[in-house]
Symmetry: C2
Subunit: 415 residues, 2 copies
Amino acid sequence: MPSPQCLQFDIDARSRTCNARTGRVTTRHGSFDTPAFMPVGTQGTVKGLLPWDIAKSGAQIILGNTYHLMLRPGSELIARRGGLHPFIGWPGPILTDSGGYQAYSLSDTNKIDEDGVTFKSGIDGSMVRLTPERAIEVQNELGADIIMAFDDCPPSVDPKTLNETRRRMTNARGGRNIVDHDARLEEALERTTRWLERCARAHGRPNEQSLFGIVQGGTDLERRTRSAKEITAIDLPGYAIGGVAVGEGPDEIKRVVEHTAPLLPEDKPRYLMGVGYERDILAAVRAGVDMFDCVLPTRNGRNANAFTRTGQIRLRNAQYAEDDGPIDPACGCPVCSPAANGWATINERPFGRAYLRHLFQAGEMLGGVLVSLHNVWHFQALLLDIRRAIRDDGWSALAAAWPVLVERSAPTGTA
Amino acid sequence: MPSPQCLQFDIDARSRTCNARTGRVTTRHGSFDTPAFMPVGTQGTVKGLLPWDIAKSGAQIILGNTYHLMLRPGSELIARRGGLHPFIGWPGPILTDSGGYQAYSLSDTNKIDEDGVTFKSGIDGSMVRLTPERAIEVQNELGADIIMAFDDCPPSVDPKTLNETRRRMTNARGGRNIVDHDARLEEALERTTRWLERCARAHGRPNEQSLFGIVQGGTDLERRTRSAKEITAIDLPGYAIGGVAVGEGPDEIKRVVEHTAPLLPEDKPRYLMGVGYERDILAAVRAGVDMFDCVLPTRNGRNANAFTRTGQIRLRNAQYAEDDGPIDPACGCPVCSPAANGWATINERPFGRAYLRHLFQAGEMLGGVLVSLHNVWHFQALLLDIRRAIRDDGWSALAAAWPVLVERSAPTGTA
């Protein structure tokens, strides 16, 4: 099967000291610079943000979630609107996931078998079936530039080692009746390969949408090697590392990514799904990863958690009640530096932490809007600086400007 | 007492066929064109909207609510930040109300006496006292350009004529123990005058903030005449018509406003508080009113009710599920006409009704943000066209462009 031609990946520069590279991915809806961080627009909106405010942050590609959009408003309805791009008002590149991960993790009732997954809709309680063929059909209807294979993604950590809450959560990810976690991981690895073959055969728009395969294998490096070999044997425009940041810590993420990334074709974009914190991103970039996504900027933003170059701050804390400083004095976003963004006549000063705290205390949605906007800028600024560090070999300058890359941050969240 | 000099009102043009006039009010924080519609920023934010997006709508002055801000985050805290302007990031003119109306209407427990009002805080349940002196002190701390007198504002409609729900609501507005509604209205009228004298004496920043008096008197035109005479006997930079749109219908609003507006000084701005729908605004403009405020654009926007030139539409309705048209084809706002607002490279097409409906169905806050933004533009565009009609005597062109001005709309809501 020849690799479809609707995606072009040009590598501009390579680090002399690690596997990092900068480049550019070009799709039918434009290009994005790599390494790239994709804000997540789960239900057809990067929560609370206008498309032009997302674009001004430097984000060039956003992500949509197949699981949510197929349930509401439905992929057929979106197809009748001309697809996701015109429907949501985002003209640039879009990537959709396959819906599998959410079908396992968000649904209380689900059953996984060799043919696919059956789960209970969170919208109307009806039983919904997702198979490799159906996941691709839905993504063909949504019309994103990059679409993802339907994979089997069990928890990488044995549910038996987790506490009760985590166990229930991970059981729901297809592990309910699995006593032997190791056998479950082995099954998932092999099934993911079989399902990728079905996805590739089912793909109805290969000249318009680029299908990426996903490597599984948990935290077992031997399995990762085998999965990478099997997955990359199918010629596709790009490959992803899945099953990471689903419960394990940052050291495990780093170990798996450093092992797996070099196993993926050097001349194709590599995408690490659902990661993550600044430090995890940097480690993955240095291992040769080109694309990232995570809900952290908007989810944390809505919860008053703001990212700064020195770590996260919780804006609800009483210590900010009379703090007029910006979230991050080094940040160039419209919240921290409105004047630098053309709003000098409206806001010559930053929005202060005291005001932002007040908005959250008062339950005002502008709080979530402003901190989400800042957080999205934060990650775009980080990736911009990372791309510069790759080109200039300026890793120590990068670490100096982003102390958060040096200090250990909180465990990576999941998509 | 001489009228303070921190507010200037220049009348540019007068209608040849009615009492309408266009002009400009200049404050220490800039000017606004009249007749003006002020978006309401209750808790220090026009809900969901960024300051520059408000400014781009054409809004030149916004309103803040003393009641909410004194309870949270507190006027002293805002004073320490330099006042409301720098705290919320709005450099233009701001008007604050006195808190009286909310103290009566939002608080379940309240007691009104000759000295002031005692009410239970909606934040922490503590008992809070507002007097004319305290209401002015709080507004002096907030630092708005125009501040409002603390008035006694009973329901204009006799609670005995209302159904149980409305009666409980209006009883809470200081009418709890009043058997004779007529006596209550008479008391409120006289008390409002006495309280205005106390407000004027208590005003600590008359060279920076302009105190407006408020005419009461319910729907009794004789009382309105007496109140207007008493209130305007106190020399102030502007006067408001209060106690309107607190339960009565649009015909009553029109009758009271057409009677009262000409009783206010011709050379000072006239402000009709809490009004309202397009048709009510037009009637009041033609009676000589210069300033308006209402929560309708943002409150309705959050509830998926969009204003159009032909009337309101409920975007949750199933009829819009596959409607790709803009909210209002004649609207120039960034939601209906993103390309005209400089976003052609991001959004060449309007945000469709189908997408907006999806956002509300999915509980996405971007729905409320987008429709609030549109609604704020809607009212600014209406006032722009009204100012043009006044100058050009173009009332029939105005009615042709805004059919909603001709058809009866829903009853006016209250602030």
